[in-house]
Point group: C3
Chain length 458, copies 3
C-alpha cells in the first residue's frame, strides 16, 4: 500500500513517492471540520464499532439507502416513531454484507486505511472486523486524546452555532490538556429564515448575548458579541452554508428582518436576507479578522422521506448548479481588494472550476479556493480539481486541504489521500518537465502544511 | 488489436487484459436499442453494404454533412422532392473518400472492428471494402439470425410506439425461432403534443386499444392496455425521450389534454403535459412493473435544413443543458423510495455527473444511472463517466451498458468497447491499490452481465 | 526538455516524439492575435525586459494582483492619478520575487521556454535574468523583423477596430518588407452600445468611411466599406467579442440604433443590437467572404477596482456560463448550410464542449471549433478539449491553433505547446490502437498547418 493512489507509470510513481515522503510526517492542520468537541473534552472510550464507524456517517448510510436499506437498520434514530436497530453486531453485519457497494468510493479507501493504520486491522472488512475493532476500542491508546497525539494533529477546528455556549470548548480549555482544539463561527441557523424555528433561535441569540434581537441592529450586535466569544475560544474563521453564493445589499433588510420574525417572509426575502447577511459578515470580518468560508450550492433536505423519518442533516441533501461570477460581484466590488478581508470559497459544482472559480481566485486578493468538498472530496475529484484550477489560479490561491469530517478516526487518512493525490499531480508535472523536482518538493509542503496555516490564520 | 483501448502503461495494461478476458465471452445483454425487429422476423440477406452500413447511420451522415456533403449523396431519402443518390457503389466511394473525418471518433472504431470481427475484413476502409463486404452479405452465415447466434446475444430489446401493432414481434414469436427479442414501450409520439399530428395519433391509440381516447381517463386506460400487450411481447421497460427531465403533477391535466386535442395547447402546456405523464407512467409502473427509462435533454430537429429536406430523426438534434435535482423531485418525493418503482436516468449533459446524477442515484433507491448515451457513448466519454460517478454512486447504482443502436452489426463491438473501457478503468483502480484484483474481477462481470439483467429485469 | 509535455509512459512518449518531430519545423500560422503591428512597422529594438515581458501581460499582473500586489508596481499605468513604478529593475525584482506563484501555469511554461529558445537564457528566472535579457535586446538579431524570420512565421494576423486607419499596416506594406502581416476586422467598439462613448465612435466611423452613420442603413454601409479596406490589407476574418453567443433578428433594429445614438438604449436593447449585428455581419460575409470568429462569454471589466484605477482591458474580465444551442439557432437556420459562410466559435466555458460545441460543429457545415482560448489556452485545458470534442466533431471540424497573444516573443512557444499537446493526445490514440501511426502523422500536420490555412482562408 506504499504506492496507494500513485500513478502506475513507473517514472511518475517514483517521483510521487519522493514527494509524498517529504510531507508524510508533517503535522495535520484541520481548519474546518465537524468533530464533536465533547469527544475530546470527555476523552471517554469510543462506544461500539457500529456507533463509531457506521451510524453517524451519512456517506455510508446513504449508499445502503440507495439500494433500499433504510438508515434505521444501521442504527440511525427515527424521528417519526419508527423502530431502529440497536444491536451493534447486527448493524455491522448489514453493513459488511453490502461492503461491495463501496468499491471505487472514497468511503472504502478511508475506512480500509483507517482500520489498517489507526487500528492495525487488515482488510477485507468482514463480520469478524467487528470483534477486532471492539477489542481495540477498549484500550487506552485508542481514546480520543491519545489518538489526537497519534494523528499528529497540530490544530483541530470544530464548528459551532452562535447559540452554542461553547461549554465543551471551555471544559477542554479548563483541564489543561495541550491539544489545540478551536471553534468556528457558523451562524446559518440564525441567518436562514427558511429554517423552521428561526424566530425562536433569534430570541435565544438575544438571551445568550444579552442583546435585544427584536431589532435588526440588535441582531447584528448580538452576532458581533458572539464572534468575540468564539474568537476567545480560538476561532479564526466563520463558515456559511448557503443555497447560493449570492451576496447583495438589501436596502430593506430591517423590514425583511421584522417580517421574518413574524413568520411572514417570502422565500425571496429569505434569500435576500441571507445575501445581505454575507455582506454584514464581511464587514464584521474587516473588524475582527475572521476568515469567511462560503459553502454554497446544496439543496438541503432534498430527500423528503429522509427528512420526515430521520430529520435534518441525515444525508438527504443534493447539489445544485451554482453561479459565482455575478453572485459574488457585490462583495468583490466592495471589499475584494481589502487586505482585511479573506474569503475561502467552496463548491459542490465542479462545472465552475475553470469558468468561474479559478479566474475569480486568480484575480481578487481577498479570494482563496477551498478544497473540493463533500461529494468532491475523493481521489478522482481532487485530481480533476488540481488539473482544472492550477493553470489559472496556480497553487497559491488555494487554501489547502480541509477534511470537513464528523468521523474523528478518519482524519489522518483523509489528509493522507489529499497529500497522495497532490503528490501524483505534482509528479506528473515533474515527469512532463513542467516543474523541477525542487519546485515540486517546496510546493507539496506548502499545500500540505504552510498554506492552510497561513490562509486560515492558524 | 488485443490491447485496443487499454491504457498504455504496462502494469495497468496487463491487469486490463486479465479483466477483459474474464468477461470477453459473456453473453450480450441488450436492454435498450433500435434495431428493426423485422430484420430478424424476415431473416433476409442484408442489402448492399451502403444500405447496411452508411445510409441509416446518423453518426456517419452527420459527419459528412458537417463538411458540406448532403445526406442525399449517402442515399438518405429526401422528403422535399430533392434527388437522392441510389447507386450503392457511389455512396460507398463518397464515404471512403471522407473516411479521415472519423479519426478519433467511435464511428471509426465501431466500423473497423465490425468489419474485422464480424466480416473478417481488415482495415483500412477503402473503395475495395465494398466488394469484400458485398460478397460476405450474400452468404447464409451473415443473415440476421445467424449473426444473432454469432453475436452471443442473450436478449435484444427493440423499441416500439404504442401505435405499433407488434406484428413483427408476433411473427418472430410465431415461427419458433429461439432468439430472445423483446419490445420496449415508447409512448413519446402519443405524449408529445408539440409533435405535429398528435390528435390523429391519439385517435389511432383509441382504435388500436379499443378505448375512448376523447377523454384523458380513456387515454390513460388505452396506455395501460397497450402496456399489457407490450408485456405479453416481453417488454420489461418503458422509454421516455423528453426535452427536459421535468416531472410534475398538473392539476388541470384533463383540460390541457382537451386543448391539445383541439390543437390549442401552448408550448408550456405541452411541457406540463409531458411532465405530468411521467408521473402517470410511474404510477402505471407501480402496478405493472415496467422499468422507466428517462432520456432527457435533446433539442429535437434543431437542424431546420435537415428537418425540412429529410424529415425527423435524421441526425439534426442537439443537446441542451439539463437539470435533474429539482426536475425529478416531485417523482422522488412520491415514489423515490417505493420498491415497486425503478427509473433509469440518462443524460446528454455530462456536466451534471458529479453535481446531480451521481448524488441522486447514490441517494434514492428507485434511481439507477443509465450508460452514457449518443454523443457520450464513446471511449473517452465512457471513461470520464466512470471517473466522475463512481466515487459518489459506486458501481452498483449504475445500470450496465446499453448499445442504443439501429446498426445491428455494430452491437458486439459496442459492448466490447464498453467492456474494454471498464477493464481499463478498473485496472487503474487495481494498479493504484484502490481495489483488489478479485474485487475488480467480480465487478467487471457484474457491469457486463449481472447488473443489466437485474436492473432491467431480464 | 525534449520531452516537455509528453505523457510519461515510455511507449506513448516515443510515439509523441515521432509525431512532434514531424511538425516541429512547420511554419507558424497565426490567424488570430493582438500583436501591435507598429512593432513590426518600426522594427525598433525592444525596450527594457520589464516593458517587454511583464507590464503588458495581464496573465502576469493578474496573478500578482491576486496576492495583493497592485499592477502599478509592475509598471501598469494608472488612469486615476495614482503612482506607477517606472524603474524596470524594480519591476523585474518584484516579479522574480513572486515567480513561485506561477508554478503549474502556462505563463511559467511560456516564459521559461521563450527565455530558453528565443534568448538562450536558461531558467530559473531570477533577478539576474534581467541583465542577461537586456543585453540580448540590444542586439540586431532580436529586433522584431529578425525574430519574425527566426520564428518561422508564415503569416501573422493582428486585430484592429474599424476606426483604425490601418496606417501601421500601410507603413509595413510600403517599405517592401516581405513578412506577411495582415489585419482582422474587429467591430466590437462600434457595435456595443453598452461601451461608454459609443455615439462618438459611431460618428468617427462615419468620418473615416465617408458614410452617413446617423441612420442604421448608413451605419451598415460604413461597416461594409471598412471591411473592403481591411480586406485590401489582407484581412480574411472578422472577430466578435460578445458577452453571449446570441444571434437574432431584431425587427426594430433601426429604432434601437436611434435610441442608442441618443444614449437611451436599455441593456436589453444593447444585447438585442449586438445579436442583430451578428446576423448582419454574417450577411456581409456571404458577400465579401470574411470568416467570422465569435468569442462569447466574457463578463468585461468585472473587477471594478481594476477598471477604475487602470481602465479597460487590464485583466479584470471573468468568464460566465455561455449557451450555444439556442443562441446560435437563428444564424444556423438562416445560413448554417450556406457554403459562403464560415463561423469559428470559441468558448471560455468548457462545460459546453460535449453538450453543445462538438455536436454543433459536427452537424453544421458553416461551423468550426476555435482553439481553447484565454484561461483555456494551457496544456491541461488543451488536452481536455481534444479529449472532449474529438469523439463527436472529429479533428476536421476544428480550426487549428490560434495564439491570441499580445506577447510577440511568446508566439513560437505557444504554438509549440499546442503541437506538443496534440502530439501527446494523438500518441495515446496510437498507443491504444485507435489510430494508426500513419493516420496520426497526417493528422498532426493538418492540425498544425493545413487546417488553420484552410479554415481561415490563408
Amino acid at each position: 500500500m506504499e504506492d496507494l493512489l500513485f500513478p502506475a507509470d513507473q517514472r511518475t510513481r517514483e517521483i510521487a513517492r519522493e514527494l509524498f515522503a517529504h510531507v508524510r510526517e508533517l503535522p495535520l492542520i484541520s481548519p474546518h471540520g465537524h468533530v464533536d468537541p465533547g469527544i475530546l473534552a470527555d476523552d471517554a472510550a469510543f462506544p461500539d464499532p457500529a456507533q463509531l464507524i457506521i451510524t453517524p456517517d451519512h456517506y455510508l448510510t446513504r449508499m445502503l439507502l440507495s439500494q433500499g436499506i433504510p438508515p434505521s437498520e444501521l442504527g440511525v434514530r427515527r424521528v417519526d416513531g419508527g423502530q431502529t436497530q440497536t444491536d451493534p453486531r447486527r448493524i455491522w453485519r448489514t453493513f459488511a454484507d453490502n461492503w461491495h457497494l463501496f468499491r471505487g468510493t472514497p468511503s472504502k479507501l478511508w475506512l480500509e486505511q483507517t482500520l489498517r493504520q489507526v487500528f492495525g486491522i487488515e482488510p477485507p472488512l468482514t463480520y469478524e472486523t467487528y470483534d477486532q475493532l471492539a477489542e481495540k476500542l477498549g484500550q487506552p491508546e485508542f481514546r480520543p486524546r491519545a489518538l489526537f497525539a497519534k494523528f499528529n494533529l497540530e490544530v483541530l477546528a470544530t464548528t459551532e452555532s452562535p447559540l452554542d455556549d461553547l461549554s465543551r470548548h471551555a471544559k477542554l480549555r479548563a483541564d489543561g490538556w495541550l491539544g489545540k482544539v478551536i471553534t468556528t463561527f457558523r451562524p446559518d441557523d440564525v441567518v436562514d429564515m427558511d429554517w423552521a424555528g428561526w424566530p425562536d433561535r433569534v430570541a435565544r441569540l438575544g438571551e445568550i448575548s444579552g442583546c435585544d434581537t427584536s431589532t435588526f441592529e440588535g441582531f447584528l450586535e448580538a452576532l458581533r458579541q458572539r464572534r468575540e466569544v468564539f474568537i476567545e475560544f480560538g476561532a479564526t474563521c466563520s463558515d456559511h452554508g448557503h443555497p447560493t453564493a449570492q451576496v447583495a445589499i438589501a436596502d430593506d433588510v430591517a423590514a425583511i428582518y421584522q417580517r421574518g420574525l413574524r413568520g411572514m417572509a417570502s422565500p425571496g426575502e429569505a434569500e435576500a436576507f441571507r445575501a445581505h447577511m454575507l455582506m454584514e459578515f464581511a464587514r464584521m470580518s474587516l473588524d475582527d479578522g475572521l476568515v469567511m468560508q462560503l459553502h454554497p450550492g446544496s439543496s438541503r433536505n432534498h430527500n423528503r422521506y429522509l427528512h420526515r423519518a430521520y430529520g435534518r442533516d441525515t444525508g438527504g441533501d443534493i447539489p445544485q448548479a451554482t453561479e459565482y461570477t455575478f453572485a459574488l460581484k457585490p462583495l468583490l466590488d466592495a471589499y475584494g481588494h481589502d487586505p482585511r478581508l479573506r474569503v475561502v470559497i467552496y463548491t459542490l459544482d465542479e462545472y465552475t472550476y475553470t469558468r468561474e472559480m479559478a479566474p475569480l481566485a486568480g484575480g481578487y486578493p481577498a479570494l482563496f479556493l477551498g478544497a473540493p468538498w463533500w461529494f468532491l472530496d475523493a481521489p478522482e475529484a481532487l485530481r480533476r480539481w488540481r488539473e482544472a484550477v492550477t493553470e489559472t489560479a496556480g497553487f497559491y490561491n488555494t487554501a489547502g486541504f480541509v477534511d470537513d469530517t464528523r468521523a474523528y478516526c478518519s482524519i489522518p487518512v483523509r489528509h493522507e489521500v489529499s497529500r497522495r493525490v497532490d503528490a501524483g499531480f505534482l509528479a506528473r508535472l515533474v515527469a512532463e518537465h513542467r516543474l523541477s523536482l525542487d519546485e515540486a518538493l517546496e510546493t507539496i509542503a506548502d499545500l500540505a502544511y504552510n498554506l492552510p496555516k497561513k490562509v486560515f490564520k492558524l
